[in-house]
């Protein structure tokens, strides 16, 4: 953790001049983004603005048509499978829990692949991750199909945390959840960031999550990103950003921010 303190200002992930296109349609045009170690950053944007494509590019699932992504100073594509697994954790939008395995087996899978720990110890760690994600231990033996939407997200959270990644990508962590469950996920993100020091990247258009959890927000407009704190973005002149942050739905979210930040 000393190391973290020393390199507090270093960026853990930086994307440089990313270009992504599908046929003639250009999704990202020389997009650059730096993510600081230990921060929570939100990626917001309208439907079809290329949020998911950016996420895929950042985690190395998609090779950009131009530009590069550096994770811990190394090109993300060149990082070996085992090292990448211990650096990156991803919470997919639908959870992507393997339906043929129980929840605990889902969490133990990356441990089984990448460590030599005995099974009992893996089980103990899996139970700890479940508790960390706020799930009772008996969820562990259930198949993913027996879980509710909010529990699926939490179980997927536990699996994303399996190898204590340095950076956690969350794709729409609060979509399809009721307000209470979504609030629980928001609190979980904040808690994990604080106590584990994990960097969190959230792709979402849930304004409440953006305002209450994220220190900075990267808004995708005009095939690039504008990164700033929520307060500064509120003052932006860009028409889309203005509409996004000043629409009727933004008011309630802003209220939540004031309450949670004690402003």
């Amino acid at each position: 953790m000393n190391a973290r303190a020393r390199t507090q200002d270093d960026s853990i992930l930086s994307a440089r001049d990313i270009v992504n296109r599908f046929g003639k349609q250009v999704v990202h045009d020389k997009l650059s983004l730096d993510i600081t170690r230990g921060e929570i950053i939100g990626i917001a944007g309208g439907s079809g603005s290329g949020k998911s494509v950016l996420l895929k590019t950042l985690i190395g699932l998609r090779e950009p048509d131009a530009g590069e992504v550096l994770l811990n100073g190394k090109a993300v594509a060149s990082i070996g499978a085992s090292e990448r697994a211990s650096l990156i954790g991803v919470l997919f939008q639908q959870g992507a829990l393997f339906s043929s395995l129980s929840v605990a087996q889902n969490i133990m899978l990356p441990m089984r692949e990448h460590t030599a720990l005995p099974v009992e110890e893996q089980e103990q760690i899996a139970a700890m991750k479940l508790a960390l994600a706020g799930l009772p231990a008996d969820t562990g033996i259930k198949p993913p199909s027996a879980l509710s939407g909010g529990m699926v997200k939490r179980a997927a959270f536990a699996r994303a945390l399996a190898l204590d990644p340095k950076i956690l990508f969350l794709d729409e962590p609060t979509s399809d959840l009721d307000a209470i469950a979504a609030g629980g996920i928001d609190a979980l993100i904040l808690q994990l960031n604080k106590s584990l020091g994990v960097t969190v990247v959230i792709v979402t258009h849930d304004l409440t999550t953006l305002f209450t959890v994220c220190g900075r927000i990267a808004v995708m407009v005009d095939r690039k990103v504008t990164v700033d704190t929520p307060d500064m973005l509120m003052k932006s002149d860009h028409p889309w950003i203005r509409e996004f942050f000043h629409g009727p739905r933004a008011e309630g979210a802003m209220q939540a921010r004031k309450t949670s930040h004690g402003i």
């Binding site: 190391a3 043929s100 720990l117 110890e121 760690i125 700890m128 009772p136 231990a137 008996d138 584990l196």
Partner: protein, 372 residues
Amino acid sequence: MATHEQAAPADSPRPAIAVSGDGDRLALAGVLDIGTLGEARKALKKTQGSLDIGGLERLDTPGALFLCNLRDKGVKLTAVRAEHQSLLDLICGLELKPLPKVEQVSRWRQIVVDLGKGAHDARHDVLDIIAFLGRAASWTVSALLHPSCMRPAAISRHVEETGVHALPIIGTMAVMIAVVIGYQGVAQLRPYGGEDFTINLVAVSMLREMAVLITAIMVAGRSGSAYTAEIGVMRTREEVDALNVMGIEPMQVLVVPRVIALVITLPLLTFFADMMGLLGGAGIALGLLDVSPLQYVARVRQAVDLSDLFVGLFKAPVFAFIIAIISCMHGLRVKGSAESVGRETTRAVVKSIFLVIVLDAFFSILFEKLDV
């Protein structure tokens, strides 16, 4: 004195963990994470007293869990850094319960349980098939009686997918089967000087049995599985429920067009396979028996009559009906997961091929008794 240090592997330099000190006062330095946990556990097996963790550079959640367990056993953790303290507080504060054990049943008992379950399922399966067969038949007949309820667009799409697109593979298979039968016939009949009868053998067996059988098996594997998977995925995505809510009977829009399409295409494919089989026979006749194509046609006309062709073609729509019904039924049985789609697809294909062969045997006996 217990010192433990491991040489870093050459390719990726791994930070290591070191234990120093003696007796009741030990100190831990380096990195305690999921990679070094095994070593730490070995080195600290019999620790009592106090453990100085001020030298730890990195600590992750499994490491913290390990330290919490040590603390629960009475080991005193000293010189804890502030950032480690918060992690330890979080992990030790969790209400940890072991994962519940899945109940293990002994192997012999499991066999008995499986047998009972299998019998129970088989009984339900038979009842389900009969009920579904009845419902599907009644919906199909009502669609035929009220042509306005038919969905020509859906039917023609399925005809194209199950029929037109299957032509190349079915044609090739029919030629190959004719070649196989031809070679066997020549080899077996030559000692008796009857190799010319190979032509009769190929023509009759293709028209009566082989063409329709291989076509039905091919269609069950190709289109039956597609039916099950299509309908199954629609079920997992709640599309079938959406149809129900809109007051549209899934039977009518999902099952009936598929059944009608397959009942149309399978006889046509069988006829195509008949012709390709005869073509393969012509090749054998020319190559192995020196019978010219014109002579071959004359021989075939002698050997077979129309009833041989109709016996084959009569079976095709029956097989088509069975394949379509079984496949759609299993598609509608899919529940929830992707695994379920795979399981039902396998069952549909196995069951439809099984039933096709059983029915074919039944037809053979029937036609023999009827002297057709």
